[in-house]
Amino acid sequence: MWWRLELFFLFILSAYFFFQPQTSLAQSLAFSRNARTFDSVQSTLFVKGMGHACLSMLRLPDGLPCNPAHVPFQKKPELGIQTLLSNGYSSLSNVRKLIKGEINQELVDGLFSESKIIQIEASADINFKTNLFNARYTPLNVKGFSVVRNEANPDVELSIVEEEGFLFQSGYEVYPNFLIGAQVRTLQRKFIKKRFKLVFLGTSEGKDYLKPETQRALYLEPGFTWIFPKLWNFRVSGMYVNWGDVSKDYADFPIPPELQMSVGFSPPVPWGHLDFSIDYKSLEYDESGLEKIRLGMAYQFGAMHFSTGLDQNGSSAGIYYGLNQINAGVMFSTTRVLNENEEFFTQTVYVQLGWGI
């Protein structure tokens, strides 16, 4: 009879998903805003490869677990550095100038006149992991995305976020196979999230339009995982994210608290280790219920880690090799920028290099 209890639990979960408000009625032709272009979540290459479906993943090879309840699964202490860079890095200096407020005519021309889509991401992390607590310091995390449409009167949608932050997480197994945890996240961010006609920058109202906003944030994010070892290590995980305080709220960049849920399982395979994960989570505030569903798969064989993920806005796949001290990975991602009858995808390649002891 034990499974009826779980079944009831899953029914409640399903009802929660179903009754979530379908917020994005005009999402079918969204200008460029979607979870893969405007996401506000820092993630490693492996997590990006899984399409961010990582909440029920017990261990991640290249960073801290997504769910703090999984801290006890860290077998031995590790200290490491990871650096990640995407293609489009030639725009990195321009994007950073923009976020620093060093705006001039040459910069604007360079950013918006030369290509229709700019996508850039770069980050550096210092991670420390033990089976009692994990910590991560991120000195730099930059994400930039812009799309220019209508060459007769260019209309631009721009998202640039630069963050510096610290994360501390700890977890504990309160009952056999039931774990809880929490993480504290502090960060300082500068961001520009605007949509405007390029010509608007030449008006008096547009002179300071691209001035970056600043925000400080402190979040406390609890999580749990319930594991059923006999059923392919079936896992149900949950986490309440973005619960905390910010120095100032901005309509351009709302980050509301959210309950995220995930189920995962690990079917036995003859060689290596296979994980599946289905998450219900937002990466960006304006996502419909269906967009929040993310499917991820990870396969490990020796030092090789393969990950792939899928959601409504794109797909991704990556391969990562982790040796004793040096690790490296590459990931390919497609992102839907405009859909309906005219599918339009942009491709991004990420490279990550790391060192650890």
């Binding site: 399903s14 009167n153 030449g202």
Partner: protein, 288 residues
């Protein structure tokens, strides 16, 4: 295993419900139509973009954003591919220098001297104006057919009225500059080129040149009006320039009109005057 099957069934149901709820809202709203038109414009399917926007505008005639998008679609059909608008419009401040170029009509001197003086002013205004805008050089000269679409785009923006947003006013100014360039090259240079080269001079049609000067003057004034809307902080300077341009254009047309009836050699005089006073670099006779 039975449990996993149950999970799969429940997940399927959830996805189905979610998908159904999504499909109920597939009607495109005005914003979606605009975005779709952008995509069509960028795919060089401008006629389709115009069609979808015309239909949307007929449904929502008061929607300023749709009207603005339709104007840009017609501008695109008129050959407008604007990439560096911002650098062009950023030099608006330089327009205030135009006032230095303007000289008034003096009742105390002869007609020919007045023509000389006013033509000098006009030449300076037009030449200075074209140099002020980096955009002027970057925008290709449109053909006569294309200029019709650009004019229509401007008239669509005119229909927005006084509530026109700053960015649309500035866009209208830029389209007007394109039209200005077209009129300048077609109606002045073009008029000279198609006249027969006779006895070492060009036979100018003073009446048409007069009309062109009036059109160019009006365009210049409408551009300045739009620049005032988009940059209210410079409204004072631009207002002064507008008044002076209006006065100079009026004086010049009055003087050239006088020439038509007074002297049959007036056209030769006017041509020489234009050449001497700066417009000569724009007026070519016999292909030189």
């Amino acid at each position: 295993m039975k449990f996993l099957i149950q999970v799969a069934l429940l997940s399927s149901m959830t996805l189905t419900f979610a998908a159904c709820s999504k499909n109920q809202s597939t009607d495109l709203n005005s914003e979606d139509v605009i975005l779709k038109s952008y995509m069509l414009i960028d795919s060089q399917r401008t006629d389709e973009a115009i069609d979808v926007l015309e239909i949307e505008l007929s449904k929502n005639p008061g929607n300023q954003k749709v009207r603005s998008a339709l104007a840009s679609a017609y501008a695109h059909k008129g050959g407008i591919r604007v990439q560096k608008l911002v650098s062009a419009v950023a030099k608006v401040e330089a327009l205030s220098d135009l006032s230095e170029a303007v000289l008034g009509r003096d009742e105390g001197i002869s007609l020919s001297e007045n023509i000389d003086k006013i033509a000098l002013s006009t030449a300076k205004i037009f030449s200075h104006f074209s140099n002020v805008f980096a955009l002027y050089e970057s925008i290709p000269t449109v053909t006569k057919d294309e200029s019709i679409y650009v004019s229509h785009a401007i008239s669509l923006l005119d229909e927005i009225g006084d509530s026109i947003p700053q960015e649309d006013a500035l866009y209208r100014a830029i389209l007007s500059i394109v039209l200005f360039k077209h009129l300048f090259s077609e109606n002045l240079i073009g008029e000279v080129l198609k006249t027969k080269f006779e006895a070492g001079g060009c036979q100018l049609n003073i009446g048409e040149i007069n009309d062109s000067i009036i059109k160019l003057g009006k365009l210049l004034l409408s551009i300045l009006r739009d620049l005032k809307i988009s940059n209210p902080s410079q409204a004072g300077d631009l207002e002064k320039v507008s008044d002076e341009i209006s006065s100079t254009t009026s004086n010049l047309t009055l003087a050239t009109s006088s020439l038509i009836v007074i002297d049959s050699a007036a056209s030769v005089f006017l041509q020489q005057n234009f050449i001497e006073n700066g417009l000569g670099k724009l007026i070519r006779c016999g292909g030189d």
